[in-house]
């Protein structure tokens, strides 16, 4: 997993709440057996006309946002299906950070397992960032995961919270399975005690 410490990037705004994983990547693109190749399908129905042409009204098709690496969206981002393809698609498009007032639980975990930093900020802050992103094209944010701050060139300075363990893994790009397997002896001990307990009722 690619670590993320300090990131400066262009912000793309999506003025919608409850953006579900079916919108992030529709089901017809879930049939691949690899982790790659999903970026082209990101926000497919919003991004392309049925005949495959770009939809000019969609933010990521605008020249100023094609290189965006920070997405700002409405509350409950990533709700719905557990498909990790949503996180893969966002990463492959180039996103490293998603800002929203809240995130769905499974999406939050999937993002954390793919080096995608999700940050919850209060609704007014999100609105302000989205407005800036609309107005100053391109609008840049500096995200510092070590200091847990977000700043811009116009005086914005916000602290953000992130679970300590998730932060640690993102900072160092750590694979969770490797960490868990350090406790293999504990797993084996628990497993046999657990099975004895169940079989004895």
């Amino acid at each position: 997993m690619e670590p993320i410490r300090k990131h400066r990037g262009v912000v793309a705004p999506l003025h919608r709440e409850n953006i579900d994983t079916d919108q992030i990547i529709p089901k017809q693109h879930l049939k691949r057996i690899e982790r790659t190749g999903f970026g082209q399908f990101l926000f497919f129905d919003w991004r392309y006309h049925p005949d495959g042409r770009d939809r000019e009204d969609f933010v990521l098709n605008h020249e100023h946002f094609r290189s965006a690496t920070i997405l700002v969206a409405g509350k409950n981002f990533g709700c719905g299906s557990s498909r990790e393809h949503a996180a893969w698609a966002l990463r492959e498009f180039g996103f490293r950070v998603v800002l929203a007032p809240s995130f769905a639980d499974i999406f939050r975990n999937n993002a954390g397992n793919n080096g995608l930093l999700v940050i919850e900020l209060a609704e007014p802050v999100i609105q302000r960032i989205a407005e800036h992103a609309d107005k100053h094209r391109p609008y840049h944010l500096d995200v510092d995961l070590e200091a847990q701050t977000i700043t811009d060139d116009f005086g914005l300075a916000e602290k953000f919270e992130v679970e300590p363990f998730r932060r640690h893994r993102l900072l160092h790009g750590l694979d969770e399975i490797g960490i868990t397997l350090e406790h293999e002896a504990e797993i084996t001990r628990f497993e046999s005690a657990h099975e004895r307990r169940i079989s004895q009722g």
Binding site: H15, R16, E17, N18, D20, D22, Q23, P26, K27, Q28, L30, K31, R32, I33, E34, R35, D45, P50, G74, K75, N76, C79, G80, S81, S82, R83, E84, H85, A87, S102, A104, D105, I106, N109, N110, N113, N114, E163, P164, F165, E176, I177, T180, L181, H183, E184, E186, I187, F190, E191, H194, R197, S199, Q200, G201
Partner: protein
């Protein structure tokens, strides 16, 4: 005297392997269900890291999302990418020793239908699957939740999952559900009250007289849709209804083990005085049949009502969401739900594709004709459901009425197989999500109960099934 615990805490606590301060809990997993769509990259990850499936005996796989529902195509899949995904699952299962309930095995079906019907799903278990509707299994008093593919790989490798402990919520439903309403209407009503993120970070326990009165299949429908209000899981304490359902199922304990298991399972109740982070009380006796009008499962009204006006939204962002939903759905504020006409009906899915669902739909449709301009797909949730339904003659009732009787799978719930809506087609669906494009690009989905869907098939529009003319 022990501190009183909730049902959720009892199951959680008995599976905590490691809970270091400031880190997520390492939770041991009793049952891992696997399907073709979210597993290939997990198996590939294991291979690349030279890791093995730790407990193939606690892992079970089936094929459900991609499988076509016509009898000729299900063994000859034309979509080559889907066929490759299915072939990959077969190979992964063979190499790792994970049992696979393959197409035509007699046990294939939607993963959340076959787990319970085979007796794999048991009270007190921790259950995960790379699918958000894993919450279904909570109907048995199991703690069951959906995970992503990296977590699937984690469970395959370690039999554990790393989770932050969720908060707890209890929804108490008093009274008795009125005739013509179902647990589908109840859960849609709950999602409307909570909103699509009202349950985020919580495990919900459904309790109260109305929940006690539900069959296992009705409880599964409720727990299934817990994810639609954002909840991590839904749970119902096991009781005699649970044990009667499980008795004699292939993977359920038998003999002495069964008696012992029941004694143990009876402890899986929320103790008197146990505290929840949130509580909600609902009068079940006031429930009405519910129909969604928008593009998330929280956008719903009773069938007798009209489409709400965005001008009455709580705030600007809700108003914007309502306007966008109405535009996508091709609907206007103030239109009566009963004036909405339909092109397609879908009866099936992990939410409502079980035998009782098919019985409820068949009871409504029996002796009537499906309207000639409406296409109706009935898709049993599993091969076992299909067999049972056919032995009762339900297939004949549907066919005689003009509906299509299909082979088992996820089908039109998410349209990964050939069953999709054409642009702008309007569908009454017993599934769980009405998101934009869920059933096909520009398709318009209304979520309803099986009885309401069946009535809509006959009438060609939504009707209040409480006044239905049942025929023999």
């Amino acid at each position: 005297m022990h501190k009183p615990k909730t049902l959720f805490e009892k199951v959680w606590d008995s599976h905590v392997l490691r809970a270091p301060e400031g880190e997520p809990t390492l939770l041991y997993i009793d049952l891992h269900l696997v399907h073709e769509v979210t597993s290939p990259q997990a198996f590939e990850g294991l291979r690349l890291a030279k890791r093995k499936v730790r407990r193939p005996d606690l892992t079970f796989a089936t094929i459900d999302h991609n499988v076509p529902t016509t009898s000729d195509e299900r063994f000859q899949i034309k979509d080559q990418i889907a066929a490759q995904q299915i072939a990959t699952l077969r190979k992964n299962c063979e190499v790792s020793g994970v049992p696979l309930f393959d197409i035509g095995s007699g046990r294939q079906g939607i993963v959340h239908v076959i787990g319970p019907e085979l007796g794999l799903t048991q009270p007190g278990m921790t259950i995960v699957c790379g699918d958000s509707h894993t919450s279904t299994h909570g109907a048995f008093g199991a703690l069951a939740f959906g995970i992503g593919t990296s977590e699937v790989e984690h469970v395959l490798a370690t039999q554990c999952v790393s989770q932050t402990k969720p908060r707890s919520m209890r929804i108490w439903v008093s009274g008795k559900l009125p005739g013509g309403t179902t647990s589908k209407d109840l859960i849609l009503d709950i999602i409307r009250r909570l909103g699509t993120d009202g349950g985020t970070g919580h495990v919900i326990e459904y309790a109260g007289e109305a929940v006690r009165g539900l069959s296992m299949e009705e409880r599964m429908t409720m727990c299934n849709m817990s994810i639609e209000c954002g909840a991590r899981a839904g749970m119902v304490a096991p009781d005699d209804t649970t044990f009667a359902y499980m008795d004699g199922r292939p993977y359920a304990p038998n003999g002495n083990a069964w008696t012992k298991a029941i004694t143990e399972w009876r402890q899986l109740i929320t103790d008197e005085g146990a505290a929840f982070d949130r509580e909600l009380a609902i009068d079940g006796a006031k429930l009405e049949p519910i129909v969604t009008w928008g593009t998330n499962p929280g956008m719903s009204v009773p069938v007798t009502a009209s489409i709400p006006n965005p001008e009455q939204a709580r705030d600007a962002s809700e108003r914007a969401a309502m306007l966008a939903a109405l535009e996508y759905m091709g609907l206007k504020a103030g239109t009566r739900i009963e004036d909405i006409t339909l092109d397609r009906i879908f009866i099936g899915s992990c939410t409502n594709g079980r035998l009782e669902d098919l019985r409820a739909a068949a009871r409504v449709i029996r002796g009537h004709r499906v309207r000639s301009d409406v296409t109706v797909l009935v898709v049993p949730g599993s091969e076992a459901v299909k067999r049972a339904a056919e032995s009762e003659g339900l297939d004949r009732i549907f066919r005689e009425a003009g509906a299509q009787w299909r082979e088992p799978g996820c089908s039109m719930c998410l349209g990964m197989n050939p069953d999709i809506l054409a642009p702008k087609q309007r569908c009454a669906s017993t599934s769980n999500r009405n998101f934009e494009g869920r059933q096909g690009r520009e398709g318009r989905t209304h979520l309803v109960s099986p009885a309401t869907a069946a009535a809509a098939a006959v009438a060609g529009r939504f009707v209040d099934v409480r006044g239905w003319e049942y025929r023999n």
